[in-house]
């Protein structure tokens, strides 16, 4: 029934001179999102909105699902297209549309008409009034309310007649690619994919780095991280995922440093390596899924200890979230089921029984001096042997 979509966007509409950049990015993202959907689409920008017309048969549900993943979209209006054949036919078309869309039309309504085609013989007001009258005749239970209608029936007269009344919410945010790039530290857990999603939502392109520790972590754990990245990529677009073999570094720290400091020191090296890749690939910051106090390595003292090794800003979008709130987002975006699969990640494998919760920076720095002999070489090897996987939701 629907042959087109009107895309509404909020925030990017007010961006002044940069507006066209944001609109172009949004069009680009929509094209990308619709690429795997069967059917062909014509996407055009016009007057503060984007218009998608289906050229022939297509899968409506799939198209809608994909559009709901495009950041920057505030609302999606499925549109019915009709030939322009005079007011009489137009009224019948609108009534037909209402019948199909609303099985029991009994709400208050208002007709809002716009004429892009100024050659049309009636003004917009006249058309609205005429259609309103016809609707009241056809559906005696409906009432007009021009101030707070339950149903706003939009009629736009263009080359074809556009009829729509429904706005399906999009994810909001800003189109990916309008705000630079960030490097996400992705583990197999619940938090980091959500963190990546939230930063991508602000228009940031995402790359990711994953640390694995074979044989302490399995191939399946690695696959799980790739799967999580693929779900995030549904929203963020393709993700370049670096897979770093962390085993030797981890074992070396284990050998040389006090075990209760293991996690902190390990995370400091993860940050250093992540920052290296971030700089190398022009990312402007690191992204983590940390939230204050969630575990020993996420107390404010611990965060300060891991933070100090980086020069790039570290973005922690979940910092004030409770676990339940994080889980709610992960369920919404579809990463939760994958995140809870039971494979070890390298953070849990060597955990001490009583890790430090208030690490003293001086102590940590001193412990790290025990690593001086070999750590540089090990980090270099880890960086050189890292594998890059291009994770694309479409593949």
């Amino acid at each position: 029934m629907y042959k087109a979509f009107l895309i509404k966007y909020g925030e990017i509409g007010i961006k002044g001179k940069n507006r066209h950049l944001f609109e172009d990015a949004l069009v680009h993202q929509i094209k990308y999102a619709l690429k795997p959907v069967e059917g062909e689409f014509l996407i055009t920008k016009e007057q503060g909105r984007i218009y998608i017309e289906a050229l022939g048969e297509y899968d409506y549900d799939e198209a809608m699902e994909r559009l709901q993943c495009v950041f920057g979209i505030v609302g999606i209006c499925p549109v019915v297209l009709k030939e322009e054949q005079g007011l009489e036919q137009l009224a019948e078309d609108v009534i037909e549309y209402l019948k199909q869309r609303y099985p029991q039309p009994n709400m208050t309504f208002k007709v809002d008409t716009r004429r892009a085609k100024k050659s049309y013989p009636m003004t917009s007001m006249e058309v609205s009034a005429a259609l309103g009258g016809r609707i009241l005749e056809a559906f005696p239970e409906m009432k007009v309310d021009v101030h707070h209608p339950e149903l706003m029936i939009h009629v736009e007269i263009r080359k074809k007649i556009n009829i729509y009344s429904e706005i399906i919410p999009g994810p909001g945010g800003m189109p990916v690619g309008t705000n630079g790039k960030g490097m996400l530290l992705l583990s197999g857990g619940i938090d980091s994919p959500v963190a990546g999603y939230m930063i991508a939502k602000r228009g940031v392109k995402i790359d990711a780095v994953y640390f694995h520790a074979p044989p302490y972590t399995s191939e399946r754990a690695r696959q799980k991280v790739v799967d999580l990245a693929r779900i995030v990529a549904k929203y963020s677009g393709p993700i370049y995922l670096k897979v770093v073999n962390f085993t030797d570094i981890q074992m070396y720290i284990y050998e040389k440093c006090p075990h209760e400091e293991l996690t902190i020191i390990m995370r400091r090296y993860m940050m250093r390596i992540a920052e290296h890749f971030a700089v190398e690939t022009n990312s402007l910051g690191l992204i983590t899924g940390e939230s204050i106090g969630q575990v020993a390595s996420q107390t404010m003292q611990s965060l300060a200890a891991t933070n100090e090794v980086c020069e790039l800003p570290v973005y922690r979008p979940l910092i004030g979230f409770d676990k339940q709130e994080i889980i709610a987002v992960s369920e919404k975006i579809g990463t939760y089921e994958t995140s809870i699969l039971p494979y070890e990640d390298c953070c849990t494998i060597f955990v001490a029984k009583h890790p430090v919760t208030k690490p003293n920076l001086k102590v940590i720095r001193r412990s790290e001096t025990h690593l001086e002999e070999k750590i540089g070489e090990l980090v270099k090897t880890a960086i050189e042997t890292a594998e890059t996987i291009i994770v694309d939701a479409l593949s």
């Binding site: 074979p214 044989p215 075990h259 029984k353």
Partner: protein, 384 residues
């Protein structure tokens, strides 16, 4: 070198089985229930498989029910027998070390109002015949005891158990889960006093998705799957002809030169056990002599978590199984290992090594070398 030592999980499909399956899949693909010649051809494969399997069991040809595998055979035996005989009594007996494919149907029946006696085992994983004798009552309708335990290779005294059960209650049925035993032992259920016996095809170099239940003539079973009435209504559904044909071929092959194969398995096991004695921190669970299964070894390495050892071995192309599936957020400890009293810290440090006649002594020696090299290194990084 590659060493696949996870044959109790599954085996490579034999070439003979593969060949016959290819033929069924692409040439003789008829539905055995069809009346035309193509259907007849399909039926012939089933007949052939039935003949081959029955020969290995010394069973009558009407005593086999083909299933989708071992799990279905166990379900059909236990639920089917319990439901068909519930008027006679509501009491069942089984052991604490059964595979979930037996234990879970038993628990389901408990929910349905049956009562179940769960027999203890000793530190070798063996049931006590005395306890069994005490457990059998007038209202007992079914006892189920596994032949070979899948985790530690314990061989239960099924012949003696059968005698005791029948002595105390001739009407009680005796089911044996022989999924890890068939192909490793010569088993004639009729002679042993077994009424029902489950077998899986893919443990004996047949295809996955194949299995059968031996059901002694006139054993009353209620179906668990209903439909078109195939296999005398006990197991509806178009027969999995390629699977059955492949399994029939694999069964035939398993018992060709049987003595030689069994001896080969014992030699592999003996070589492994004598080699592992040199590895400090290694401990074998269950019995080690010829009174335990020829192909299963349960190995605990103190201070090395099973998953870690498994992945370290995997890195050297050695494939074993984690004795108990455990992960940080899903600690599922093995009930067998718990039942035989394995210490808590070893529960998470146990792997299973399981052989097939295809394995070689070189592979065993290679694995031993690797274990000797890895163990001290892995032990350094234990969780504190």
């Amino acid at each position: 070198m590659e060493a696949y030592f996870d044959n109790a999980a599954t085996t490579r499909c034999s070439n003979g089985a593969k060949e016959v399956m290819m033929q069924v899949l692409s040439v003789d693909y008829g539905n055995p229930s069809s009346l035309h010649r193509k259907g007849m051809e399909g039926e012939n494969y089933i007949r052939e498989a039935r003949k081959n399997i029955c020969k290995t069991l010394k069973a009558g040809e009407n005593e086999l029910i083909f299933t989708s595998g071992g799990t279905e055979a166990n379900n059909l035996a236990i639920i089917g027998a319990a439901m068909a005989n519930r008027r006679q009594g509501m009491h069942l007996i089984t052991t604490k070390i059964e595979h979930p494919a037996v234990a879970a149907p038993m628990r389901y029946l408990e929910e349905q109002g049956f009562s179940v006696t769960w027999l203890d085992v000793d530190s070798d994983g063996l049931i006590s015949l005395e306890q069994l004798r005490d457990a059998v009552k007038e209202e007992t309708i079914l006892a189920s005891v596994m032949y070979v335990n899948n985790e530690i290779g314990a061989v239960e005294p099924v012949a003696e158990a059968a005698k005791i059960i029948k002595e105390k209650n001739p009407l009680a049925l005796f089911h044996v889960d022989a999924i890890q035993a068939y192909g490793k032992y010569v088993i004639h259920p009729g002679k042993l006093g077994i009424d029902l016996m489950s077998v899986s095809g893919h443990k004996i170099h047949g295809p996955k998705g194949s299995g059968f239940l031996y059901a002694k003539e006139k054993t009353r079973l209620k179906p668990v799957i209903y439909g078109g009435g195939q296999q005398r209504g006990i197991r509806s559904g178009t027969e999995n002809v390629p699977g059955i044909a492949g399994m029939g071929q694999a069964a035939k092959e398993a018992y060709e030169e049987f003595g030689k194969k069994q001896e080969h398995l014992f030699q592999l096991k003996d070589a492994f056990l004598s080699g592992i004695a040199d590895v400090e921190w290694a401990k074998i669970n269950g019995r080690t002599g010829r009174d335990s299964a020829p192909h299963i070894i349960s190995l605990s390495v103190e201070g090395v978590r099973s998953e870690v050892l498994l992945h370290a071995l995997e890195d050297k192309q050695i494939y074993v199984s984690a004795g108990s599936a455990c992960a940080s957020n899903k600690p599922a400890k093995s009930s067998t290992l718990q039942a035989i009293g394995v210490k808590k810290d070893l529960l998470e440090s146990t792997v299973r090594i399981s052989f097939s006649p295809e394995n070689t002594l070189e592979e065993v020696n290679y694995c031993l070398d690797i274990l000797k090299e890895l163990t001290p290194r892995l032990r350094k990084f234990t969780r504190h």
